[in-house]
């Protein structure tokens, strides 16, 4: 079997990992970075992903898509409240929202596919061979449509998704492989956009999920938003400007808020500085101020924790270990609240940003047959039911049932000669169909004409190991298989996905070229900055003709950088590097000499 990679497709960042010599490892990019920002930008030169796209956030706000995971498998009604805050335009379709980029409507799975393709390429560069199979993680509390959307994204990216794994469970697998987990484990996973709590029993290599709960619309993004609202109000008071309708300013504020939030996890105070066109905004922020802003959000994670414990029939103090997963658990406030609830210290011995991807790699290795002593038994997070008379839901598969699982239900006709039966399948915990998540409508067709009430149609609802519903139907009197046409309420149809897979091939080449160009441009920028600084600081140790040569090469690269000829930019970059090599050597030498005579060597080296 070919190599299977594990992918954490996150709201904010994504990672790819694999198991090598029995140890799961994250595959870094060429610069050694593990995290790929889950950001996709449409530039005049094509689509870019990751760091390059992050740099487009402020200057190309309407065409740079971030946090698309929050839109996966969602309809307009689900997300309309947060749309005004997004700098890109979301087309209000009921079933599948899409993002308008120029004259194209792009669905969330297509956006995610760009991120997945970048990770696929990263893995391929690492292995030196093609990668076509993957395990992808999703929040445990993702419903059927959100899981299906993730699977679709994989397919569009050219990946066969062998398994969808729940993120907290993946984390438990990563801990388990290193024999760091045994007994009752509570995994508290607060990421960029989603929250999960899972309670597992780990015993003899079996990872049995007892219960899970969560909120697929709560995470670091919401903390950032709370800060943004607060900063906007502060800017209004102090500078008398309302920036709430300026998309670029909003992005600058959001990026600044996010960075300040991260610093406040380690420092008690921080200063936020944002330069705007007409003024520069400075704000000293204390950790207590941030905590007051996000406290209500953190508090909303505790209800799901209690419900999961209740479903597992456990008290909080019965957890042997509390594991923290996801970048947002770095906030001291989050840790405090979790520890208070469980009455014990919580830990994140494995890097909370990487642990999910590592666990996905472990699951990939299990599927490849490389690990045989570990077994994962996960659950379905939401009850599955069908709508009955009066709009009441009849539950077929209760939440927290171990998967795979199946339920059979029998239906008949109400009119003589009726040839089809319609079913409405839902997910959720509420009594009325209208309060639950509509999953699909089934049309059972090909029922032989019989008097009303005579046909007995057996429908088998099967939830597979991915937590995705499959359905089969047959008429018991004739034994004939009835055909089911599934009309997903939210999500893409089979033929739409097919079309997107096809389109992705057409665009693939253009996308690769765009990415390469941007990478080359970025590298050129780095070299230009370095050389310009070196000339300012150490120009005096350069001979005059040497200095002239360097300046000429620098001007040539600057000229090439403006254009889009990648080869030209690359050649000029190499030429500039060559021109400055002797100077760089001498600067290093001078720095080393200075180190002998001066305590300030560190600073000189740092500046060179």
């Amino acid at each position: 079997m070919s190599r299977i990679v594990g992918i954490d497709l996150g709201t904010t960042n994504s990672l790819v990992a694999h198991v090598e010599g029995g140890i799961p490892r994250v595959i870094p990019d060429a610069e050694g970075r593990a995290l790929l920002p889950s950001i996709v930008a449409w530039t005049p030169n094509g689509v870019v992903v990751g760091e390059a796209a992050r740099r487009q956030l402020a200057r190309n706000a309407a065409r740079t898509v971030y946090s698309v995971k929050r839109l996966m498998g969602r309809g307009y009604e689900d997300v309309k409240d947060e749309l005004p805050r997004l700098p890109f335009h979301v087309t209000p379709q009921a079933e599948v929202v899409s993002i308008r980029i120029g004259d194209r409507d792009i669905t969330p799975p297509e956006v995610s596919a760009h991120v997945l393709r970048a990770l696929k390429q990263r893995a391929e560069a690492h292995f030196g061979e093609s990668v076509t199979q993957a395990v992808i993680t999703v929040p445990a509390y993702f419903n059927d449509a959100q899981r299906q959307a993730t699977k679709d994204a994989g397919r569009i990216a050219g990946l066969e998704v062998l398994r969808i794994v729940n993120e907290p469970t993946a984390a438990a697998l990563a801990y388990g492989l290193q024999k760091l987990a045994e007994g009752i484990i509570a995994v508290y996973d607060l990421g960029g956009g989603t929250f999960d709590i899972s309670i597992l029993r780990v015993k003899d290599g079996v990872f049995e999920v007892l219960a899970t709960n969560g909120n697929t619309h709560l995470g670091g993004d919401d903390f950032d938003q709370a800060m943004v609202d607060w900063l906007l109000a502060d800017i209004k008071t102090r500078h008398r400007v309302d920036l709430s309708t300026d998309p670029e300013a909003l992005q600058e504020i959001r990026l600044g808020a996010e960075a300040a939030k991260c610093r406040l996890s380690f420092d008690e105070r921080t200063v936020l500085t944002i330069p705007f066109e007409r003024f520069t905004y400075h704000r000293d922020i204390g950790r207590a101020e941030l905590e007051a802003l996000v406290e209500p959000l953190v508090a909303t994670t505790l209800g799901p924790c209690r419900r999961a414990l209740a479903d597992a029939a456990l008290r909080p103090d019965q957890a042997d270990q509390v594991v923290l997963v996801g970048g947002s658990t770095r906030m001291p406030l989050v840790r405090r609240r979790v520890e208070e609830l469980f009455g014990r210290p919580a830990h994140s011995r494995i890097n909370p940003d990487e642990v999910v991807a590592l666990g996905a790699a472990v699951q990939a290795q299990i599927l490849a047959g490389g690990i045989t002593d570990m077994l994962l038994l996960d659950v379905t997070p939401l009850s599955l039911g069908i709508e009955t008379l009066g709009g009441i839901v009849s539950v077929l598969i209760p939440r927290n049932t171990t998967i795979p699982t199946l339920a059979k239900e029998y239906f008949t006709t109400s009119v003589d000669g009726q040839a089809t039966v319609d079913l409405h399948v839902l997910q959720g915990e509420r009594e009325l169909a209208k309060d639950n998540r509509s999953l699909a409508r089934f049309d059972l067709a090909g029922v032989d004409p019989m008097p009303a009430g005579m046909p007995k149609i057996e429908v088998t609802f099967l939830i597979d190991a991915n937590g995705i519903l499959q359905a089969q139907a047959r008429e018991l009197r004739t034994g004939k298989a009835a055909s089911i046409e599934v009309k997903p309420t939210y999500g893409l149809t089979e033929s739409q996905v097919e079309q997107m897979v096809e389109d992705s091939f057409t665009h693939a080449e253009a996308d690769v070229n765009a990415r390469l160009l941007i990478e080359t441009q970025t590298e050129a920028d780095t070299v230009i900055n370095h050389v310009a600084r070196a000339l300012r600081q150490a120009g005096d140790i350069a001979a005059e003709d040497e200095r002239a040569r360097i300046e000429a090469a620098l001007a040539a690269l600057r000229a090439a950088r403006v254009g889009t000829d990648r080869d030209e930019i690359r050649e000029r970059t190499i030429a500039l590097n060559q021109a400055t090599a002797p100077l760089a050597d001498r600067m290093m030498e001078a720095a080393l000499k200075a180190a002998v005579t001066s305590k300030r060597a560190d600073r000189l080296l740092e500046n060179s």
């Binding site: 079997m1 062998l162 003899d204 047959g369 077994l375 839901v393 915990e429």
Partner: protein, 198 residues
């Protein structure tokens, strides 16, 4: 279809050693879980999926002493078991008068608004019913051994089966009224899926 007891090689009895059941569940899962049949052909994968689904449902039905009784009633009556499929609970006759009073209290509270006193009264009722809900479960499980003896001795089990059914119906009815009370109090958590492990 084989019944859930035979899935685990157990006799159709209500006393089950939880440790033994869990071990067999894990062993069977290791054999049949789809994770270990990834390389199989389509038919092999479908088989693993079906087997694994059966094992999971069987374990869920048998791991808890009370759901075990519910499942037993279903197989004894030759019905296909579905969780929570016991007929919509009707108020047991001896409880009718009492439950009518609770419903009246709810209606009254709704009509007059949930003042402190009315809410307190409803909460008191709910507390009382929750205790009885638990007591019913304990009473049912307490007679499990009796069932097993009848199986061993080949005695007549009809009366006990009927008793189990009635107690389960009573318990289910308590649950409905507890939920009604919570609804009236506006304190209902997501609870329409019954939690058989409690």
């Amino acid at each position: 279809m084989s019944d859930y007891f035979t899935v685990f090689g157990l006799p159709r009895k209500l006393t089950v050693d939880g440790e033994v059941l869990q071990r067999r569940f894990y062993d069977l899962s290791r054999q049949h879980h789809p994770d270990f049949h990834q390389g199989a052909d389509a038919a092999g994968q479908a088989e693993a999926l079906a087997q694994s689904a059966l094992i999971n449902r069987a374990y869920r039905a048998l791991r808890d002493p009370l759901t075990r009784v519910e499942y037993l009633i279903a197989v004894e009556e030759g019905r296909e078991a579905r969780e929570g499929a016991i007929d919509k609970p009707k108020a047991p006759r001896e409880l009718l008068q009492e439950m009518l009073e609770v419903q009246e209290a709810i209606e009254e509270a709704k009509a007059q608004g949930l003042g402190g006193e009315a809410a307190e009264r409803l909460r008191g009722e709910r507390r009382r019913l929750e205790e009885r809900h638990v007591a019913e479960a304990e009473a049912i499980v307490a007679r499990s051994g009796e069932w097993d003896r009848l199986v061993d001795e080949g005695g007549d089990r009809k009366a006990l089966l009927e008793w189990f059914k009635q107690r389960l119906a009573t318990r289910a009815y308590f649950r409905t009224v507890i939920d009604d009370l919570s609804d009236a109090l506006g304190e209902r958590e997501e609870s329409h899926v019954s939690h058989r492990r409690h």
